[in-house]
């Protein structure tokens, strides 16, 4: 059953044009010219209960703008949004009870309160029963290690601590839906891993519906089965990550270290796209040629010291898609 439904969603921002010089300033006092910026243009999707969806796209694609419309702090220019049966911007306070939100770029905790007091405040704000509050705090403390900084004011927390506090805070009132806008930004490798484990567990054990935006494709790879890819405010792909991987993942990279340094390497079915002294990077399509076939060709004329075959991570697939365009993407899966 869809718990989030978005149809033909649009958001235009009117940006006041700033005039330069004195005359410009006077002119802008009388009449301001505006430039229309279409941040989100006609996006539709629907998300089922318990799904975890990666919402990705390059900088300025319109991800945060979409999330803000789902939380109700932005009103769409047109189109419709429904979150758990509620139209967020018409009923912001009611919607607030159904959602947890983390904006990785900024905290929503009270800056000068000790962390624990922010939690207590949220308990009152969302009227969380004592028992529930205690249960949640115990769970979150255990997984996220909150106890090391509960008495520290939020503004003194490190980024990683703050992020952990923020995500715990967003879940205190047991919302059925969680919006995570870059929840792993700026975290170190270990902290990222912990955050992912936590999100995964929350999604599985409480069947919370999660929308996750991130620039770290490892987040997507480890957490989501489905991704929605947007660019310039438009949806370019919506479907299984496995399908994208299957389509683009046919390209492999063979890296060989040779004993000598030849000027060039000519191969059938393989393309050398980078070389450095005696090391060569060779791209090939595994449907057309096998790695062993390529290796055999090389050994005919050279001696191989070392070699590796790399399967593309979603990271490099996505970066290729961003750069080369979306025409090769599989048909968007209509749900």
């Amino acid at each position: 059953m869809p718990i989030i439904e978005v149809e033909h969603l649009m958001k235009d921002f009117m940006i006041a044009k700033r005039e330069t010089g004195f005359l410009g300033a006077v002119k802008s006092l009388v009449k301001r010219e505006h430039i229309k910026k279409e941040a989100v243009k006609d996006i539709s999707f629907s998300i089922n209960e318990g799904e975890m969806v990666g919402y990705i796209g390059p900088n300025g694609a319109g991800k945060s703008t979409t999330i803000k419309m789902l939380t109700g702090i932005l009103v769409p220019t047109s189109g419709s949004v429904k979150v758990n049966g509620i139209i967020p911007y018409e009923n912001r306070q009611e919607n607030a009870k159904n959602i947890g939100v983390v904006f990785g770029q900024r905290t929503q905790l009270w800056w000068d309160l000790p962390t624990i007091e922010s939690f207590e405040l949220l308990k009152e704000i969302y009227q969380v029963p004592d028992k529930r509050y205690k249960g949640n705090m115990d769970t979150f403390t255990e997984i996220l290690g909150l106890d090391e900084f509960l008495n520290t004011p939020v503004r003194q927390l490190s980024l990683g601590q703050r992020m952990r506090a923020d995500i715990a805070a967003s879940l205190l009132h047991d919302p059925p839906i969680l919006f995570l806008d870059e929840p792993t930004i700026g975290l170190d490798v270990v902290a990222k891993e912990k955050m992912r484990t936590f999100i995964k567990e929350i999604n599985r054990e409480r069947s919370i519906t999660v929308i996750l935006t991130t620039h770290d494709m490892e987040d997507i790879e480890k957490l989501c089965e489905r991704m929605i890819l947007i660019d310039h405010g438009q949806k370019v792909y919506d479907g299984e990550i496995a399908v994208v991987k299957e389509r683009f993942g046919k390209t492999r990279t063979l890296i060989v270290d040779l004993e000598e340094s030849p000027h060039s390497l000519k191969l059938n079915g393989g393309e050398v796209y980078k070389e450095e002294a005696s090391r060569f990077w060779i791209r090939f399509n595994r449907d057309e040629v096998s790695a062993s076939g390529l290796i055999a060709q090389i050994t005919e004329t050279h001696n191989i010291k070392d070699l590796t075959v790399e399967e593309p991570a979603i990271e490099s697939i996505i970066s290729r898609i961003y750069q080369e365009g979306y025409q090769d993407l599989p048909e968007t899966v209509k749900l």
Partner: protein, 267 residues
């Protein structure tokens, strides 16, 4: 439905938080005292040994200044104007739109907490000592005390609504310097906080009487020192009630426009 418990939590939290920032309390009390001494000596010099000026005895005038500094302490212990502007600028206030509570009310209740802490730990002890050791006029009956407290409280609400409205103007203006100056000018002069209205030249007094600021300092103070009494007090309270309603409407209007701007233009 008004969820008192929720807002009351903000009061409690703000009270406790003030306890953490004790230095702030002492420094504020220090400057409060310095201003008290300053205004005290200025008025002593202005009276120049006279028993009475403008129909008000020297003793009453001194009391006026002391009460006025007390009220300055009370009104200055909440969220200051610059902090509201800062919260608008950083978007902290916009994010609070996502919470299931009313934002202006929540700041008001938080202010109750910090003000209560400041009154209990700093203002009350200091000013009690002052009233014991100085020759000052005290209200004669408990009714006057009660009326003073009610009036001072309404004054506090008027000040809150106006200050918050001014702070929220940062949503619409990039530069608010001039607007802020107007606010501080009105708060210090037109409110009668440093010069009682009866010393104003006629035109200025008329102007002050038709503005809300006198409701913050002048009216409670005039009740305290007995400058007004009986039916006059009730009339003044009526005027205050009118202004608290008007400034509340102003705050609601500004807040609605501000949140509308956030949700349409993204802050």
């Amino acid at each position: 439905m008004f969820r008192f418990r929720l807002y009351w939590t903000f009061t409690k939290k703000a009270f406790l938080r003030s306890a953490v920032y004790r230095f702030d309390v002492w420094s504020r009390l220090g400057s409060n005292l310095i201003f008290l001494l300053m205004w005290g000596s200025i008025w002593t010099a202005l009276y120049a040994g006279r028993e009475e000026a403008g129909g008000v005895s020297f003793e009453s005038m001194l009391t006026y200044i002391v009460v006025s500094q007390f009220l300055t302490g009370v009104n200055g212990a909440g969220t200051p104007l610059w902090e509201i502007q800062e919260k608008v600028r950083t978007g902290d206030i916009s994010l609070e739109l996502m919470r299931p509570f009313d934002v202006p009310l929540r700041y008001l209740f938080a202010d109750f907490g910090s003000v209560a802490f400041y009154i209990l730990t700093a203002l009350l002890p200091l000013y009690t000592v002052m009233f014991i050791f100085m020759d000052l006029t005290l209200p004669s009956g408990w009714e006057t005390w009660a009326l003073f407290i009610v009036s001072a409280f309404i004054g506090f609400l008027i000040r809150y609504c106006i200050e918050m409205s001014f702070g929220l103007l940062s949503f619409f203006l990039v530069e608010t310097g001039g607007i802020v100056d107007v606010f501080y000018f009105a708060m210090s002069l037109l409110s009668g906080s440093v010069i009682p209205l009866w010393f104003f030249p006629g035109w200025l007094e008329t102007m002050a009487i038709y503005l809300p600021f006198q409701g913050i300092y002048y009216i409670p103070n005039a009740i305290f020192i007995g400058k007004i009494s009986g039916a006059e007090i009730l009339l003044s309270l009526g005027v205050q009630l009118f202004w608290v309603a008007a400034s509340y409407l102003l705050l609601r209007f500004v807040w609605n426009r501000a949140s509308q701007k956030v949700v349409v233009q993204g802050g």
